[in-house]
Amino acid sequence: MIVAGIDVGGKNVHVVILKDGAIAAQGAAAAGIQKAQAAERLYDEMLRKAGLTQADVGRVVATGSAGKRVAFADACIADAAADARGVNRLFPSTRTVIDVGAEEGRAIKISPDGKVLDFAINEKCAAGTGTFVEAMAIALEISVEEMSTISLKSNKSIPMNAQCAVFGESEVVSLIHQNTEKQDIAKAVHDAIAGRVASVARIVGMEKDIAVIGGMAKNEGFIDSLKKEIGMDIIVPVDPDFVGALGAAESAAKGVLEEKVAAKVVGQEIVEGG
């Protein structure tokens, strides 16, 4: 059985192709403005990589904030649902998922079978998202990767009070003017995001195990700040930004199985009726 999951987010597209439950190919690309085209291009590229064609794929499920724009998908599921499925496949003991992507930070409470029990999402605020880190990295004239690394060297705690990315940037500029070390500013930014994300996670209640996914989970500085903020251990998957696409692919696999079961039932009815 071959299925695909496509996660079209605010900034990037992720594709995961599963063949008999194993990952046959996965890849990411910038979503750009033409998100649907970007998704299809990447999907075709991943199929080629796996030595497959579109006709080989039994079911495609899309997710993400622009998931509904993937016209060739058989279904679209909510991003939190995809997160839950993906994390459940990787770490079945997870009960709380924290997903911090480019445009949104969310916390999801999940059941042992990967269902969404409760969720909370940061509303209309960029200060708890990856976009905020990117903006701050630009202000510091360093890369996001460097920001992640240098913040781990800081042992200072500088509070950032701003409630939004715009004012946050102005605070960073003030710190730069005060000759504050870049590593300390980077840590201040990560601490601020961690605080924001933790407050969202507290809405659903943080129950062990806790997994952090999304692009921001690749940022070690942020993960360090978040661990300290919540005072609990955190699981981070190897490819945290692919979990949504993986969950969508899992959902596609489940859909194929359900279709097969439904076909069997219909078949039996025909036999019985005939």
């Binding site: 904030s65 599921i77 909510a78 991003d79 939190a80 649902a81 839950a84 269902k115 969404v116 029990l117 409760d118 969720f119 909370a120 999402i121 509303e123 209309k124 809405i203």
Partner: protein, 445 residues
Amino acid sequence: MAKYKTEGLHCWQKAKELTKKYYQDYKESPARGGLRWEGGAWSFDAIPQALEGEVHGLSEEPYGASIAHNPELQVRYQEAAEGKWGCARDLCSYMRAYWGSVALNEYAYGGPWPHADFIFQNQICCCHSKWLQVADEIDGGTTPYFCFDVGVGPYDKIGDRQIEYVVAQLYDGIAFIERVTGRRIVEEKLIQNVYNTYRSNCYWAKTCELNQAIPAPLDEKTMFSLYVLGTLEKSNRAVADFYEKELYPEVKDRVVNKIAAVADERCRVLGDSQPPWGFLRIYRYLEQYGIVSVANLYTFSLIGWMKVDSNGLLVPYPTLEEQGITIKDRDHALRLLVEGELKGKLMWAPFYGANYKNDLVTKIAKQWRCDAAIIHLNRGCEGTAQHQMQLKIALQKMGIPAMTFEGNMADEREFDEGRVLRLIELFVTETLGLKKVPKDRKGRG
């Protein structure tokens, strides 16, 4: 085939006509020698409406909601309030819309802003008393203004002392109205208005109680257009008659005959706070999943009078006839009016603490057999948005899945429809595990 029968309300048109007449009368009454006054949904309109001759009021919140319902007016009026008057965007959005209307000298129902002869208002929420004071300042600052305080405690802490405190202010209010208008308050009219107020408020509560039935005879979106009459002029005989003699019997009949608001009702949800008026289509979206919004403390008790009975259940407050009371005179009328408002308007209780909101709403959730809650975190109304996150926890503790979405009752700039629909879909499909009703089965009244 759909699960239940469904059809529109026969009295729907009447409700629309009454609303239209209300706003028209306010506009046109001076030409007929009538007086105009401004107040709010919680004003004791029985008093100014007892003036001799023709008199009409303008109720501030429903007027704000009318503006909110019209996207073009809404944004223009909000921007006028911000730009021309300089008010902050975190203030009550009904109030801002109202101020914008005054600042632009436009009446949402046509023509220039209709200047009032006096203002008769009360104070319970954080902005009621300032609302019309500022509106009048924008309008020139010449309108005589009277405001009385009803913040005397929640429904279960009302005794003679609290009632006396408000009644004494009403006597001052009557003297004020008579002085500034040169007309007198007619006792017979006042008494009749109090009877009507009881009938409007109690029969709306009785109608809401009928929604405990499965299938629900009414959906909340329809109820919005029905409770509004009580927010406009609950003391009006036509309004009281509508509630007692038209709406209540018809809804009772729907319950008996299992006529549903949503033909495929399979999930009953509880709402909270005012809706985002410009986006009521989210209720229709819910119907695609067989979801019907059946209950909301705000929708019930904005005008509906209720009480907690000896079994701890929410029940409609009794009418004067049911209590076997005949109003004797002016003083008796005022005391009964105050008693009903202070003891029966449960909507005021959350102003005194989250425990009241949690207690009342969890009772509603149980009695109205709600399967889930969808809570509008209403940035436009601090009063009704109080304690909403605590309420979510309280509902979840009793096993009711609950979700929240951010919005604003009267400022569409603060409502992201696509995002909200994504959240609702997540909640509905994942947490509630519902799928869309097949298209050929959809239907509603």
